[in-house]
């Protein structure tokens, strides 16, 4: 298995530049989840890697092999790139049986017949589909079809496995299962996986490393799950990952004060690297707002919703409505406030970002 390197890739569709000077490395034997809102250029990057689209400049290497290099005028055709790919819509060929589907890449590589069968069956065993070898894809469920697609991508020992939104078309319960399965397969084969998705939740569950792209096609953060969650690089990452409250704050007497219709000093550390001379928002995730009767910051419960594993609250804080999530464990420990009740709240792990130009910070 090999690492994958994108260097200074620029790609355009007609006049529209989708990727500009984009560089990214997928470490060997790791799952890299590339996450970003739809339209940010994730799929363009995949198409460049597969050889279905030619970047204007830059280079792509997999291990020791240069697949594309604009300067050296190298562009290996798609069929010679040796990359396993799993698409969102499965792309399992409906006119071939499961076994024929999985055998196809081997056939194209002129592998001897007896070996083809053996290797294809082994790949099917890996995804627990060996008993369906002679089924046609239309006799299988969506999840099973996607397993076949994964087996087909694995069968030739590709240097890298690319998965483009592989679980988006499956229903919720199955998605969880498939994520676990993908992780198991990867850890068994030690594959290098580039996993593309717009769903940060599944990316977090799966990844070794995560790369977050902004809508303009730039890479805005690269790191492991902990980096992304605890140390978001900027406001975009912070807001993209999870539901968050943005509350205007000001710095007074070396203390951070709320600035949303009420003025209360907050018991949080003043970060050294934030410039409070411009308008500043404090970002707090909805589960980082904690009920604490002792806190001087008071707010009023507008409504609450029981969601099973947690309670969700709308809380009026000054002239802002913020959202709070209380886990069942906390609910059992500190109780559930009623609608209309006044509560003390505390903010855990807040982040500070310059306010957006227009009136912003509204609860999403």
């Amino acid at each position: 298995m090999a690492e994958v390197k994108f260097e200074n890739i620029t790609a355009t569709y007609g006049k529209k530049t989708v990727l500009k000077d984009f560089s990214l490395t997928v470490n060997s034997n790791e799952i890299l989840c590339l996450v970003g809102p739809s339209g940010c250029g994730k799929t363009t990057l995949v198409r460049c890697l597969l050889g279905l689209m030619k970047p204007d400049s830059g280079s792509i290497t997999v291990g020791d092999t240069v697949l594309f290099d604009a300067k050296k005028r190298i562009n290996v055709p798609a069929e010679k790139r040796n990359i396993g790919i799993v698409f969102q819509d499965y792309a399992v060929w409906p006119h071939m049986t499961v076994l024929e589907n999985v055998s196809y890449p081997l056939k194209k590589r002129r592998v001897p017949k007896e070996e083809i069968r053996e290797r294809a069956m082994r790949a099917l065993e890996l995804v627990h589909m060996e008993t369906y070898a002679n089924h046609l894809p239309m006799q299988l469920s969506g999840g099973q079809q996607q397993r076949v697609a994964i087996a087909r991508a694995l069968v030739v020992d590709s240097e890298i496995l690319v998965m483009d939104e592989p679980i988006t078309n499956l229903d919720a319960k199955l998605r969880e299962e498939m994520l676990l399965e993908i992780r198991m397969i990867q850890s068994r084969l030690k594959s290098t996986v580039l996993y593309i998705t717009h769903d940060q939740q599944s990316a977090l569950q799966l990844c070794d490393k995560m790369a977050i792209m902004e809508l303009d096609g730039s890479l805005c953060q690269y790191g492991n799950d902990e980096d992304i969650i605890l140390r978001p690089a900027n406001r975009f990452t912070f807001e993209f990952i999870g539901v968050s409250n943005m509350i205007p704050v000001v710095l007074k007497n070396k203390k951070i004060h709320l600035d949303c219709g009420i003025d209360a000093a907050l018991d949080v550390e003043v970060p050294a690297d934030v410039d409070f001379s411009v308008k500043t928002d404090m970002g707090v995730r909805m589960n980082d707002v904690v009920f604490d009767a002792k806190s001087p910051v008071k707010a009023k419960v507008v409504s609450k919703v029981f969601l099973g594993s947690e309670y969700n609250y709308f809380i009026k804080l000054g002239d802002k409505e913020i959202r709070v999530q209380q886990s069942m464990l906390d609910a059992k420990l500190s109780g559930v406030p009623d609608d209309g009740a006044e509560v003390g709240i505390r903010f855990v792990n807040p982040r500070f970002y310059p306010a957006k130009k227009e009136v912003s910070g509204e609860a999403v």
């Binding site: 240069v66 190298i74 790919i85 792309a91 060929w93």
Partner: protein
């Protein structure tokens, strides 16, 4: 480092520009479409408005067109064409919608069987139907008329099929399935909650039909109605068989008469061409009018998940309506069929339908000599060739339009759909003008190839449509997955795309083969002494007054069609698993 070091320049390696295969396909498609479609159409227009002066130069000249327009016969033919087409469309649409609703939304029994039976009129050659009705209801001695006159002691025949209304009746019988099939399909696709919602809103069942169901199927209804309208405007067989004796002409029959009377001379063909332009003008006007009427409030056909629709209980009306349906089928299918078979056994036309007058003599006569056998062979050859070529060419056009998507694909699509709006008669004239030596000195006149070329132009849009629909289902990721698996562009086409659309190609073939087998409108203008088709042969026999012989051959033709249809259904069913 292992490098795929190639000296080619980058542009040649480019994923988009590299595929010379795509380019070659695009160019081939353009050339073929120009030869098959554009040239004949161009030739008609050119010959109508330009005349070769003695100096050898072509001059713009409207006189031919003017003369044709001023002739009383032509004007009445035009008027008849419009009248017949409009009434056929109106009644055909009403009948089609009525039966579609009955079979699609009500709880009428034996639905599956009835749906299958209602497709029969679609396969039944209309000009054979016309022959049968002429035998039954001819104003001067139709069998049914005679029966009524003797039974009730009437002085004159109660029915006269040889009229505008007769033509309308026969055309409606065989064209209403156009609307029927479209509307049944739309009703099946329609989300039943759209109707349920209206019930909840307080609307009675009948209100729901008028306010919701019918308006929602409007796109399907109008598509079917348009098909009836254009087909009827261009149709030759029925008005020719029923109208001829009474001097009722339509534009297609008039064109035939002009060319026939001129004995195939160039002047006659030019006159025919001028009339063709008139016919095209009428068809275009109809298309534009239809577009205007329907353009208000456009919307997509309804998507929806497949829930079973709630069937409307007919209660007391259930069995009367079932009987009515069966009666319809008997009248438009069984009666003509039986009539043709009975007449084919008659020793001579006009004899009473009694057992002692029956024999096989007509069949012996028909198959004496080789004209009949030759015509069957000709039809088989022309239909199969046209079917195969159209299937391949249609798929090619569809592939270029749907997958390669060249910049000017709009033009391609337009070219391939153009013949759809151009009547068969007109195309035939264009084909004659184009292939009697005026281009590259190629003269196909009097050979079977000119018929095949005309079939190609006429039926290309059929196969292009089915292949297009199939290709749209093949998502591009299927081909891309093959590329990533190590298949070249050509290999991915051969291994993935073609096998996937093969069923559609096969049904595209039969969609051409079957109508071509029974076709008369196009070949009647193109046949030569040795290239009579089955349709032309039957028409010729009847025209020569040998009605029982025509009936015998018609019986044989219907037999062939039934056998072929069974084979098709068997093949198509077999492939459903793919």
């Amino acid at each position: 480092m292992k490098l795929f070091n190639k000296t080619d320049n980058l542009a040649a390696l480019d994923g988009r520009k590299r595929f010379s295969l795509d380019k070659a396909l695009t160019i081939t498609t353009f050339i073929l479409l120009i030869i098959i479609v554009v040239i004949p159409v161009f030739m008609i227009i050119f010959n109508t408005f330009f005349e070769k002066a003695t100096t050898g130069r072509w001059n713009f000249d409207l006189s031919l067109f003017k003369t044709q327009l001023s002739e009383e016969k032509n004007l009445s033919a035009m008027w008849n064409t419009v009248k017949i087409a409009v009434f056929t469309t109106i009644f055909g649409t009403i009948a089609g919608v009525f039966y579609a609703w009955l079979l699609g939304r009500s709880d009428i029994p034996a639905k599956g069987l009835m749906k299958a039976l209602f497709n029969i009129p679609y396969m039944f050659p209309p000009f054979l139907g016309a022959m049968a009705w002429d035998m039954l209801l001819n104003g001067r001695g139709g069998y049914f008329n005679k029966f009524l006159m003797t039974t009730f002691g009437l002085e004159t025949a109660p029915f006269n099929i040889n009229s505008i209304w007769g033509i309308v009746f026969v055309e409606v019988s065989y064209y209403f399935p156009f609307v029927f099939m479209q509307v049944v399909a739309a009703l099946e696709k329609m989300d039943p909650t759209l109707e349920e919602c209206a019930r909840i809103a307080g609307a009675k069942q009948s209100t729901v039909i008028w306010r919701i169901t019918l308006p929602l199927t409007k796109p399907a209804i109008s598509a079917g109605a348009l098909l009836i309208l254009t087909t009827s405007l261009a149709h030759f067989g029925v008005p020719s068989i029923i109208g001829y004796s009474q001097g009722i002409y339509t534009l297609p029959t008039r064109i035939y008469a002009v060319i026939y009377n001129a004995g195939g001379s160039f002047e006659g063909i030019r006159e025919g061409a001028a009339l063709s332009v008139l016919l095209v003008a009428v068809v275009s006007a109809a298309l534009i009018l239809q577009n205007k009427i329907l353009s208000s409030g456009s919307y997509d056909i309804i998507k929806g998940k497949s829930t079973r629709p709630t069937l409307i209980k007919l209660r007391g009306a259930k069995y009367p309506l079932l009987i009515f349906c069966i009666l319809t089928l008997v009248i438009i299918v069984v009666v003509p069929l039986v009539m043709i078979v009975l007449v084919s056994f008659l020793k001579a036309y006009g004899l009473p339908l009694k057992l002692e007058n029956f024999s096989f003599i007509q069949y012996q006569r028909v198959f004496k000599g080789n004209a009949t056998i030759q015509s069957i062979k000709n039809s088989l050859f022309a239909s199969i060739t046209a079917g195969v070529v159209c299937m391949l060419l249609g798929t090619l056009v569809a592939y270029v339009v749907q997958k390669i998507k060249p910049k000017n694909r709009g033009a391609l699509e337009f070219m391939s759909m153009l013949p759809y709006a151009i009547p068969g008669t007109v195309l035939s004239i264009g084909v004659i003008l184009a292939w009697q030596g005026s281009i590259l000195g190629i003269n196909l006149y009097n050979t079977i190839w000119i018929i095949i070329v005309a079939y190609l132009a006429r039926y290309l849009s059929f196969s292009m449509k089915t292949s297009s629909a199939a290709l749209l289902q093949v998502s591009s990721s299927l081909e891309e997955a093959a590329r990533a698996c190590g298949a070249s562009h050509t290999e991915s086409l051969a291994d993935i795309t073609l096998p996937l659309i093969r069923p559609a190609m096969v049904s595209g073939f039969f969609l051409i083969f079957l109508p071509a087998m029974r076709e008369v409108t196009t070949s009647i203008l193109l046949y030569g002494p040795k290239t009579r088709t089955l349709g032309v042969q039957i028409y010729g026999l009847r025209d020569a007054g040998m009605i029982p012989q025509a009936a015998a051959l018609a019986t044989v033709a219907i037999g062939i069609i039934i056998i072929l249809n069974t084979v098709v259904n068997y093949i198509v069913k077999d492939r459903k698993g793919v």
